[in-house]
């Protein structure tokens, strides 16, 4: 714990704000449903779009459900689905990028063409087809969002890797007789971590955005559950009145994504010292 404290202390102010936001949302995602005052689908309010009250701390939604409870459930999907998909996308993208950069030649060419293919199919339409074909499920959502952002990560990771591969220490490793796996994982990858983290942060934002876009097209998380974007979407009618049912999820998305990126941006100097 003290290591964590010293880590937190080493961050600049923006990083500490980011860290607290991330921790907050992580906590909400983990224990939110347990502390939610009502069930995620419980119809508890006679009225809809109620303002903030003691009974409903964040008001009620378009069906008279408790916004706080739905938010506490919804954070789970956005945090885990978003982070999971971003992680998966970066994992796949970076692995392919390292392969392309280290192997070069036709491997590079084939992978790059494949990525061009993927990137040029509009993601939401891809999602539409996949959901129509396979039905909606969390695993499919995760797959779709991850696949959508693989090419973007690949492009960036490949550019980084190609840069690192041309550096002397990689040549040293090759001259030592090291195999491709060692070169990729031990020599190249550690030198791309920070830009990759920054890319992960941005990709996370875009995945959150894509998830809410999918909910707009009716392809999101299965009701009565809803990710934060779906919460915004389903309560759009409350926008005119500035109902907390729409303001709160929107605010939640903003704080979560900005927090994650502030934290990631702040990690850079720490890494340099370490």
């Amino acid at each position: 714990m003290s290591r964590f404290a010293s880590f937190a202390k080493s961050l600049p102010l923006s990083g500490r704000i980011g860290l607290s936001l991330v921790l907050f949302w992580l906590a909400v995602a983990l224990v939110g449903p347990a502390v939610a005052p009502h069930g995620v689908g419980a119809f508890v309010d006679q009225d809809v779009f109620s303002p903030v009250s003691s009974a409903f701390p964040l008001g009620s939604d378009y069906l008279g459900r408790d916004v706080l409870s739905r938010l506490l459930w919804g954070a789970r999907y956005t945090v885990f689905l978003g982070a999971g998909a971003a992680l998966l996308a970066c994992l796949i993208g970076t692995t392919l990028a390292l392969t392309a950069a280290v192997r070069g030649g036709w491997v590079d060419e084939v992978l790059s063409r494949a990525m061009d293919t993927l990137i040029s199919i509009p993601s939401k339409i891809f999602a539409l087809v996949m959901v129509a074909a396979f039905g909606s499920s969390l695993a499919l959502l995760l797959t779709i969002t991850a696949i959508t952002y693989v090419p973007g990560n690949y492009r960036i990771a490949r550019a980084l890797a190609v840069n690192v591969v041309s550096l002397d220490f990689v040549t040293v490793a090759r001259a030592r007789g090291e195999g491709g796996l060692h070169v990729a994982l031990r020599e190249v990858l550690p030198n791309m971590i920070h830009p990759l983290l920054a890319d992960f942060g941005l990709r996370f934002v875009f995945i959150v955005l894509l998830l809410s876009g999918l909910s707009f097209l009716g392809l999101g998380v299965q009701p009565p559950y809803a990710d934060l974007g779906s919460l915004v979407r389903e309560n759009m009618s409350g926008l005119v009145d500035g109902a907390p049912a729409i303001v709160m999820p929107a605010l939640a998305i903003a704080t979560l994504t900005v927090g994650a990126n502030l934290l990631i941006d702040a990690l850079k100097p720490v890494e340099k010292q370490g």
Binding site: R113, S120, A132, L202, V208, L209, L239, V258
Partner: protein
């Protein structure tokens, strides 16, 4: 070694210098297009139902479905249809739309200019804005302005597009009555009306794409600001503004145009939500339409266009990067 004075790139050879690159790219673009069509063919094969069923709807009788299938040629094996379609494409004919019952070329040509116009306007608005934000952030690296812009652009991206779009409509159309709430684009509309119609869609799309471009601009400019030639220019007494515009920008242009190209390619296929909200007759909604009606020739054509535009943008970006960099230009 010392007297390397002869040779080198005269300006006129700059364009001809990139021609081999363009030729090579067109070659690999054809491969990519083929791949895209194969992927579209494969995943659309997973879709339940076909164009005949979707056209006839719930009320169809089996005889009707059979008859329509025959008319649409859906009674032939899928692979045969795909190969036929490929053959047609090779001769520049994208076939007939199964549902609209007219040449795909006509269906597309009614929508493509709209999409290009929307993307064009959005680019005109968002690219300069993104550059301004990126440069301002880079110059003030770590400063208050930088951090504010960072948080602002990030949160702008994360907020769902439909929320931004609807908020824009509420404010500018419903409350202020300044702008139309829907895009009424048609040939007979005046330029002014068209511009007004596009204002809100452009705003909504810009919010999404600005952040990525601004962040890349910031990174590219910041990277250049650390270079010795920037310090040298300052030590020559060159004003900072001039340093940024005349010294830094030509060198940062490569990565920036690349980010711009990627973002702009999103403006076509990714505009589905904006097209839906503003009733904008663009390509993305046409493609969704093609999916739901199982209109394979139309779907393939849309996919081809998106892919071709993406590849073109990336190629243009690379060519710009090469032309901006004398070193690459010479190679």
């Amino acid at each position: 070694m010392v007297g390397r004075v002869s040779g080198g790139a005269a300006p006129r050879s700059a364009i001809s210098g990139v021609l081999p690159l363009i030729a090579k790219r067109i070659g690999s673009a054809l491969v990519t297009l083929l791949l895209v069509s194969a992927v579209v063919f494969t995943i659309s094969g997973l879709l339940p139902g076909d164009a005949a069923q979707e056209t006839l709807g719930q009320s169809a009788t089996p005889e009707q479905v059979a008859a329509l299938r025959h008319e649409m040629g859906l009674d032939r094996p899928a692979l045969t249809r795909y190969v036929d379609w490929l053959g047609g494409m090779a001769q520049g004919d994208p076939g007939r739309s199964l549902v609209a019952n007219m040449p795909v070329r006509e269906v597309i040509s009614a929508r493509l200019p709209n999409s290009l116009m929307l993307a064009g306007f959005t680019a005109l608005v968002s690219v300069p804005l993104a550059l301004a934000i990126g440069i301002a952030s880079a110059i003030n690296r770590g400063g208050r302005l930088d951090r504010t812009l960072n948080v602002l652009t990030l949160s702008a991206v994360a907020v769902p597009e439909f929320l931004v779009a609807t908020l824009g409509v509420l404010v500018f159309s419903v409350k202020l009555l300044w702008l139309p709430s829907i895009a009424l684009v048609s040939e007979d509309a005046s330029l002014w009306d068209t511009l007004r119609s596009c204002a809100l869609p452009v705003l909504s799309l810009s919010v999404v794409v600005i952040a990525q471009m601004a962040r890349m601009t910031r990174a590219a400019v910041a990277d250049q600001l650390d270079r010795p030639y920037v310090e040298m220019a300052r030590l020559k007494g060159v004003p900072f503004r001039r340093v940024v515009l005349f010294h830094v920008m030509p060198n940062a242009v490569g990565p920036i145009v690349n980010a711009v190209a990627l973002s702009l390619s999103y403006l076509l296929g990714g505009a589905i939500i904006v097209e839906t909200i503003f009733n904008f007759p663009g390509l993305a909604s046409l493609m969704v339409n093609a999916v739901t009606s199982r209109d394979m020739p139309l779907l393939q054509a849309c996919a081809m266009i998106f892919c071709a535009i993406y590849l073109t943008l990336v190629l243009v970006a690379d060519v710009v990067a090469i032309l901006a960099n004398p070193r690459l230009r010479a190679q």
